[in-house]
Symmetry: C2
Subunit: 374 residues, 2 copies
């Protein structure tokens, strides 16, 4: 095993494989194409496991990330982020044999005169706002959607269909609310499909959805052609709180050196702050937490009740993490030892880290190791 | 000027120099040594300006950062973070002619048998908790402080004195509360000094403090020997809200491509999310904001009242930033253009970025460009 001296994100590759297989089986069974979002792991090593499990189509959240995975040999990449007109040259520099999926999210971008070279190498998706109210056209505004479809088709764009992200499931209070969001979305999509089949008879539009909370439940997927969950590959405390996973499914933890311990005050300090764990937090009962300290052995019994059986992170500075616990729990956090932190949001932990470490001590890089080309 | 295609942190080097000079003059006038914290900028380029302004002693927040600045030639570096016993080898690998200041923050670490080689190259500080309740020994616990002093001195450690960080000023509601924190700290330190002069007659202990909010005001500093503010070099919205700076003093902004615009909904979306701006937020009146969109020309008139004259960031996802504004404001945020965002917390923006850009288009690296050595 490595000599961990600074905060290190440790990935359990067996759990990763299990999480991928479970999600793939669920989507295969429903006849829905699986196009996992790679923004959660941003690493070739994890991408390799997806490839071994038969995945060929992927989702990314930036042009930079598309280049990173294209270099590894991925040929079918959807950039699930509103098309950034300033990155046109960079998109055009993607390898010739890569098909890139682009998102049209507003009418200004839809009106843009796309170069022929872009139309040749890309397929287009119209982003729908199904309730998250972040980006996309309202799913109920048939007028503007017709205008966008006609606009894109008149330029010769290969229009695939519609893409949505029910990101409001992340704010749900539990499974019931997630279920309700899915039903709402399905009924709205159904109305849109009905309209489209009348307006564009014989024409096939695909529907691409996907967020880990709703994909992690046995929910209906009628009319959805592909799903793009990402977080499920690692899961985290937020997903545990939403009921998306069991505690033992969480495949990412952060090993943090303990640097100060105050058992009489029920407090310890770790080297592990917001630049490692991110400021994403979770409210559990009356407590706001930034992570839970839990050994590998105890993970499957982890319950989100605080104050409870496990010490937890109550505050983060840039490099400091403040742990609260009973005197007995803090006595186990001796300076010089490592605290194993289960994070609130694994995607942001990875995007903070330049390297990940597997349980056997292998260090592998992420996209974040690379500089930006201005 | 560069062709900005992805979120870029832009630094106004003239403002940086002004901010450094203003702080140096204030501390010089008070006869207090200036040991700026370099964690805010983490870059050789900004360090160079400090050097040109006569600074020779610096503060960092990690051993990695100490190495980074030691490579640039800095010889007197305090690591203002509880000594991480797991990084002992890395500390010992700092160049021979570097004097490194180390922090003893709890009794477990104070009891450690430090290698002779460490005692030779280091000076030690005892961390005091003056009210922030993060790390350090209670300033009022003379019993334990005597024990730590004697323990350290018995090992032959070069004890400099006491170091504290009034980080609770960051949670203050304004200048009055910051002033109160300073007075409280000074009176506690005075009691400690009185005790020490009786217990250890003739012995000189230094007192090192420093947080940008209290250093940015004309407050008494009696009995404080050195100050270690960091954020002041860039400032940000949080410091503006605390009254630490004027809007025109803020030297860091983030240029973000606009990728979607919905004027009728008073909303636009930028490429600029939590992996660029961090999830640090600010509550102003009833609004929670993650940044303000403001041109260079309008910056000096910027006021923190929302909804007000400027569009602001109401939500961040991993890569998305959601801007709220009037229809007219949003109409100016055309996809393909750049939104200039003043961030809530500049330290975290820099720690997210691998490069900074100066106003004339020069790109310079930060520590974050470098990988971690496991």
């Amino acid at each position: 095993m490595l000599n961990i001296t600074v905060p290190a994100a440790v990935v359990d590759l067996d759990k990763v494989r299990k999480n991928i297989r479970r999600m793939k089986q669920r989507l295969d069974k429903a006849g829905v194409r699986f196009r996992p979002h790679f923004k959660t792991h941003q690493s070739w090593k994890i991408a390799e496991i997806f490839s071994q499990e038969g995945i060929r189509q992927i989702t990314v959240s930036s042009v930079t990330m598309a280049h990173y995975f294209a270099r590894q040999g991925w040929k079918d990449i959807t950039i699930a982020f509103p098309l950034n007109l300033r990155e046109m040259d960079s998109i055009l520099m993607l390898p010739e044999d890569v098909t890139v999926g682009l998102l049209i999210s507003d009418s200004s971008t839809a009106s843009y005169s796309f170069p022929k070279s872009l139309l040749k190498k890309s397929v287009f998706w119209i982003e729908l706002d199904t309730g998250h109210h972040r980006s996309g056209f309202s799913v109920a505004d048939f007028h503007i959607l017709t205008w966008v479809i006609d606009k894109l088709c008149s330029t010769g764009a290969h229009l695939q269909g519609f893409l949505f992200h029910d990101g409001h499931t992340y704010n749900a209070t539990g499974i019931e609310e997630i279920r309700e969001i899915r039903y709402n979305t399905l009924s709205r999509l159904s109305l849109l499909r009905e309209f489209l089949s009348e307006k564009y008879p014989g024409r096939n539009f695909l529907f691409s959805g996907g967020d880990t909370p709703s994909c992690s439940q046995e929910l209906p997927m009628e009319g959805i052609d592909e799903m793009r969950p990402g977080n499920f590959v690692f899961y985290d405390l937020q997903q545990l709180a939403l009921g998306s996973c069991q505690p033992e499914d969480i495949a990412l933890s952060v090993l943090c050196p303990v640097v100060a311990s105050y058992p009489d005050q029920g407090r310890a300090v770790i080297y592990g702050g917001s630049i490692h764990l991110s400021k994403d937090k979770l409210t559990v009962g009356k407590e706001t937490i930034y992570g839970v300290v839990c050994s590998e052995e105890k993970q499957s019994d982890m319950r989100l009740t605080f104050p409870g059986d496990l010490p937890f992170l109550t505050a983060l500075s840039q490099e400091h993490g403040v742990i609260q616990g009973t005197a007995e729990q803090i006595l186990n956090l001796v300076p010089g030892s490592l605290a194993r932190v289960i994070p609130v949001h694994s995607c942001l932990v990875v995007s903070n880290m330049k390297q990940l470490v597997s349980a056997d001590g292998t260090v592998f890089e992420t996209l974040n190791l690379h500089s930006v080309d201005f």
